[in-house]
Symmetry: C2
Subunit: 404 residues, 2 copies
């Protein structure tokens, strides 16, 4: 039935707009969607009956004419669980429509020490805490998504490879499903891809159709938005540019190849240049570097300049390849951006062609360290957003199931 598809599309269009742009008046929705007043009224009626949105009277706006009611998402209507498995930490959050965060927590973990089984157990424990603390008037649970620092097959959530976690061919989505025991679908994606999604949905450059997110955690990766959609490629492996060749005369990389971008511009290169040793918890080292940079420590500033140079060469290539409107630097590069900027931009200018360069805006992430977690929440919400009527199946049954 094609009529149903049309209806679904229009419902999704209204709900997504409210989710992303916050509350809007009915008349704003009318002009945004280019639908008729009466159709908008009907659509809002349905979304309202589903419990997803609510209307409030609408302020008098110093202009003539009948004031239009303000429509907004009802934040406590649905909830998703967002998970981030980073190298140095695990983070979880329960999030609702409009990006409303019920609760969030992050715990540090010594690097590279945890098996998939231990990790999943830890996640389940933390998830239990978060879900129990949801409001008593419980929202309905519609999805789970996890951002993992590794190469992830999207179709079934298999972590093909994560050198930094020490994982290989881990069926992470299935393991989560088993331990969490929730009825909701579970998606697993790459950390940088989720960072890009967060920037596209909620970042400074939200809505830009072509965006590159450069993730500097332990590894160096990118998440890329093309035509307003995440670049996944055939299986979801796209954006693995950390092992792009940038210096054939460079060092051997853990991946087996030589002169990878990550080897020249990644965290390890920074520490090497600064003459520092990696500890079990990388965050402390990074903080001490930032501190010393602030104090004008020459060695540290030179080290940062050094990786900024190689980073910029790669960013220039990305600009030539993708012709993006925005390049957002995340993770490590977000933290040190003020010190990196000049060498980074010099290197970018040395490589990027004039035409794409004059379009691209380069800057640090404003979402900060939580980008991947926010992106995971957005991914988990995609189901409701693209088919709002689907919650009616859920609401007839229970609310939040227990995580034990």
């Amino acid at each position: 039935m094609a009529a149903e598809e049309l209806r679904r599309h229009n419902l999704a269009s209204v709900l997504s707009r409210l989710h992303l742009a916050g509350s809007s008046s009915r008349s704003q929705l009318t002009s945004f969607t280019e639908l008729n007043r009466s159709t908008i009224a009907d659509l809002i009626g349905e979304l309202s009956a589903l419990g997803l949105v609510e209307e409030r009277p609408g302020s008098s706006s110093s202009r003539p004419g009948r004031p239009s009611p303000i429509v907004a998402t009802r934040p406590e209507s649905v909830a998703v669980l967002a998970i981030e498995i980073a190298v140095d930490s695990i983070a979880l959050a329960t999030v609702g429509l409009g990006g409303h965060i019920y609760n969030k927590l992050r715990i540090a973990r010594p690097r590279g020490r945890f098996s998939p089984e231990e990790t999943v157990q830890e996640v389940a424990k933390l998830a239990g805490t978060l879900l129990d603390s949801l409001p008593t008037h419980r929202p309905y649970f519609v999805g789970v998504a996890a951002a993992v620092a590794g190469v992830v097959r999207r179709s079934d959530g298999l972590v093909r490879l994560s050198p930094n976690l020490g994982w290989r061919d881990v069926p992470f989505a299935n393991m989560l499903a088993e331990v969490l025991g929730l009825g909701a679908p579970i998606l697993v994606a790459n950390e940088a891809d989720m960072g890009a999604l967060a920037e596209y949905r909620r970042g400074e450059h939200a809505g830009v159709q072509h965006l590159v997110y450069v993730s500097g955690e332990v590894g160096l990766g990118t998440g890329i938005i093309v035509n307003g959609k995440g670049l996944g490629g055939a299986a979801g492996y796209a954006g693995e540019v950390g092992h792009t060749l940038i210096n054939p005369e460079g060092r051997a990389c853990r991946c087996g190849a030589v002169g990878c971008w990550e080897t020249e511009a990644g965290e390890a290169a920074l520490l090497r240049r600064a003459g520092l040793q990696m500890t079990e918890t990388g965050t402390e080292v990074l903080e001490s570097i930032a501190q010393r940079a602030l104090e004008d420590d020459r060695d540290v500033l030179a080290a940062i300049d050094g990786i900024g140079h190689w980073l910029g060469l790669g960013v220039g290539d990305l600009i030539n390849t993708f012709n993006p409107e925005a390049v957002v630097m995340g993770g490590l590069y977000h933290r040190l951006y003020e010190f990196l900027e000049s060498s980074l931009l010099d290197a970018v200018r040395s490589r990027a062609l004039e035409a794409p360069l004059e379009i691209a805006v380069i800057g640090p992430s404003e979402l900060g360290a939580d980008s991947p977690l926010i992106g995971a929440a957005e991914l988990a919400l995609t189901g409701v957003l693209s088919d709002p009527a689907s919650v009616s199946d859920v609401t007839t049954s229970q609310g939040i199931p227990s995580a034990h």
Copy 2:
């Protein structure tokens, strides 16, 4: 009016299917589109009334049941003009639905000697010949598209930069419009992008959702299909990977930077390694190289191996970046593929990650040297294919306008 959009979408879906997959029975169309029998009948009726398709009785297929009529595009219903401005030649073709080629011609031109004005005049002259030789029962003219070897802004067909043609900021679409004097819309695009479109629509891997086309003409560029759509980026400059950094210790490139991919793996590198001089018409030199390779000339084979190596390093990076299902080698690399293959694949394997590598199929273009021209024809046909009803406006007026 949303109903119209739905109708347009369904008409487009049927016509595109016929255009790409050739003739189909009505029942095949029914199962392909998942629409109702009666709806398909209605849609075909409308397309038929527009003169775009025709039905023939339908063969008895040795299976029980009433035979389904075969629907096919009527090739002489519409025509587009496809233009290719390459470095060594100009090509034009008049093409109809189903990829039907009315006529095609290509003339060689000494390299880098022609101004935009001379080029446009030449195109107009040749276009006149082609249009005059169209069938007496004239098809209706719906579009023009040109593939140009350079960086092209899609929105207005401005050629921002073409080092190999020696052009800079040439308003090529406007110039064509003026000289051709046709009412039809004129699109200008990058040559490699058009090669990719051709491979996606009519190549060996047609229909694959993620594809990389590597164009080796004089420069080295790529056209990339992501999610079944051309990767253009914000302004259409995407895919300019020829000047990606691949060897910081390498030579200076014309672009001003050092160690670009093109400098190591492009045509100039091949000639340099083979100890040959470039002549005005690059095609002869290329043919003599191919000839000597066939005769097991050691120097030439070594030269080809050399660029194959650097080519493969870049292709490996593209596989990591895009996770494509197919990588199609065009132009120069298509011509010499049999000699390139082993060093190319070795280098690819040295760089590409295991996960994306096991998905990607690498091979030479089967469409050969005409890829960009075919792609331009497909681009010009996009208008009719996405809104078949739009031809009714045209058919009420004249058929082919004169090009003089």
